[in-house]
Amino acid sequence: MVEEFRFLFYTMLHPYNGFDAVKYERKGSVKTAVLVALLFFLQNVISAAGSGFLFTYGDPDKISVPNIFIISIGALVFWIVSNWAVDSLMDAEGKVREIIIVTTYALMPYIIFSLANTIIGNFATNELRPFMNMLSIVGMAWSVFILFVGMYQIHQLTFGGTVGILLLTVFGMAVMIFILVLLYSLYQQVYIFLYTLFSEIMFRM
């Protein structure tokens, strides 16, 4: 376990070697990936509820943990599914296991920097605001960079291909959400149709 966490931080600092090892030495595990995803969710809850008075936006009474869970974990699941789908369509070499590991491991810098921001927010005045913005930008950029490198390694694509797969993944997510909304409304319509049918028959009996 300790070994796996050490590897998690190793991928943060050495994404090329790290994710190469994920592919060819079967390093990293889905178990750790799930843990990191939960950490991501937990971090979102903490930063929504405990950023301090100055850095909390919106109504603290309206924080909904289930909502945050659905959004953070849901986004991850959508990304993984979409990435896997695009990967299969483009004949890239990534496997589901690798996609899960890369996607979640890449969140690590974001989680760490946001957590730092959350802690600082409880002591900082408005003057530290630019510094904190910088921290969160650094965290995000780092995460995106690692994600990019990871995708590059596991799918064995060119630079342009990786950019393409990332853009297509985002597009795929949008398509998935669209289809879900469509299904939802369709389901409602089918339900109403069956209900009407049922009540019509009942009236005639």
Binding site: L54, F123, T125, N126, E127
Partner: protein, 483 residues
């Protein structure tokens, strides 16, 4: 007690228990005041002002008013001037609303001058009257008369290269500063206020407004750059919003309201001698949907503005423009208006003139209103300790009154009790002031605990060194084992 009596009392008591208990307020108003909560939603608040008497022309002893347009309070003589436009006269009453005189005509070296369409009036310290008098058709004029109704000067349209020939001059409201410079707000003038010398010579436009920019205008502006000249000319011109009224306070500051703003960006302005806005209040909560018609600033600096769209009067404090009270509304009950046109303060009361109701409504401060104002005045005078008591009184009456918490916070901040200040700024949801208090607080905390902080850092470094040496030893042991 006889049995009969007991038999009669019991059902009575039962009946009393069954009757619904209803709170009755002796002086309820036909409107409810509100303030804004931290997310800009309106929440009910106790009324700051309640309507008193409603005065019609007959109450003043001058017959019905007809389309009255302006009020002016002469503080030197404590008299109220009412510009009764439809009856072509100016009515002057004293503090008990007893008629002093009715002004209809003036004496211009033996020649009689009557008013055409009087719209606004200003009376300076020695009783000189400045009256804006529009015409049924064509250009209006400004009359200057001394208090014995002898005309000093009459001037019509100002002459300048900046004023085009076909412009119809309709002077509306007028103020005069202590140097005798005359500021005129005229209808359909978007360049600002006319600034004239005491002799009526045009000096410049004063306090021009900016053009309010929004997305649509920006796109049109872009088209204007791209299109050929002739097509570009067909695109409408953007003009700055015009002023709807002007007021000068005791200290000589000129306040103005802007009419028909579309973005509600700047609505209430205080103009410095250069003509730029020093309030810089942008998009305040109470600006939304308002079309301000008149403004009044009292001796403490509290600003009261009347909105014609919803018939509402807003009183705000001068520092941040936080709304303290609102009252009025559209309607015909006492305390509501159909078309409010002017507001003035007279002997501690607010008077609102309604040109369609043809009446002046008096508004008196409530206990709550008085507590809020007292506290704010004490704060502004720098008596922070004394302001705490009335603020707590206000909070007791309305726990949702964010302004009071901010006031308490400011008071404690000035007393250098930053922790309490932080508590109150948090309750008042003012992040800016909270940050200031927090900075001071953390500075003090840092200074008083400096020893511990240094000790902590020292211990941390020591810990790291110890861990490193231990590790090195373990490595050595391992190596030793290998060898």
């Amino acid at each position: 007690m006889s049995k009969l009596k007991r038999a009669a009392v019991l059902p009575l008591v039962l009946l009393m228990l069954l009757l619904p208990c209803k709170a009755v307020f002796a002086d309820e108003a036909p409107y409810r005041s509100y303030t804004y909560d931290r997310f800009h939603n309106a929440v009910p608040s106790p009324n700051g002002y309640l309507p008193g008497a409603q005065l019609f022309g007959s109450d003043l002893g001058v017959g019905d008013l007809n389309n009255p347009n302006d009020l002016f309070v002469d503080k030197e003589r404590n008299e109220l001037y009412i510009v009764d436009t439809g009856n072509k006269r100016i009515v002057v009453v004293d503090e008990d609303y007893k008629l002093v005189r009715v002004i209809t005509e003036f004496d211009n070296d033996g020649e009689v001058v009557t008013l055409n369409v009087p719209i606004g009036i200003f009376v300076d310290k020695d009783g000189t009257m400045y009256i804006t008098d529009q015409a049924e058709q064509g250009d209006g004029r400004v009359l200057i008369s001394d208090k014995d109704l002898k005309i000093r000067n009459i001037f019509g349209k100002p002459q300048s290269d900046l004023i085009t020939g076909n412009f119809v001059y309709k002077p509306s409201k007028i103020v005069v500063d202590r140097y005798g410079k005359i500021y005129i707000q005229a209808t359909d003038v978007t360049q600002g206020l006319f600034c004239l010398t005491p002799e009526g010579k045009f000096l410049n436009y004063f306090g021009s407004n900016k053009v309010e920019m929004d997305a649509r205008k920006l796109i049109l502006q872009l088209w204007r750059k791209i299109l050929p000249r002739q097509a570009a000319q067909s695109i409408i011109n953007f003009i700055p919003i015009e002023y709807s009224n002007v007021y000068i306070d005791d200290k000589g500051f000129i306040y103005a309201t802007a009419a028909a703003s579309t973005t509600y960006e700047y609505q209430v302005m205080s103009l410095n001698p250069l003509g730029s806005d020093v309030l810089r209040w942008k998009r305040l909560d109470w600006f939304e949907g308002s079309n301000f018609k008149d403004i009044y600033v009292d001796e403490y600096g509290f600003i009261t503005a009347v909105d014609q769209t919803r018939g509402k009067v807003f009183q705000v404090e001068p520092d941040d423009g936080t709304m303290m009270f609102t009252f009025g509304g559209i309607g015909s009950m006492t305390g509501l208006f159909t078309k409010p046109v002017a507001i003035e303060g007279f002997n501690g009361k607010l008077l609102v003139l309604d040109s369609e109701k043809r009446a002046i409504t008096e508004f008196k401060l409530t206990t709550f209103g008085k507590a809020v104002r007292d506290a704010q005045v004490l704060y502004m005078e720098g008596r922070y300790v004394e302001s705490i008591e009335p603020w707590l009184e206000v909070v007791k009456r309305n726990a949702n009154y964010l302004f009071a918490y901010v006031g308490l916070g400011k008071a404690y901040y000035q007393l250098e009790d930053y922790q309490t200040a932080m508590k109150y700024f948090k309750l008042g949801y003012n992040k800016e002031y909270y940050s200031e208090a927090l900075r001071e607080y953390s500075l003090i905390a840092m200074r008083s605990n400096f020893g511990y902080i240094v000790l902590g850092i020292g211990l941390f470094i020591a810990l790291i060194i110890v861990i490193r040496t231990l590790r090195r030893k373990r490595v050595l042991i391992k190596l030793g084992g290998a060898v």
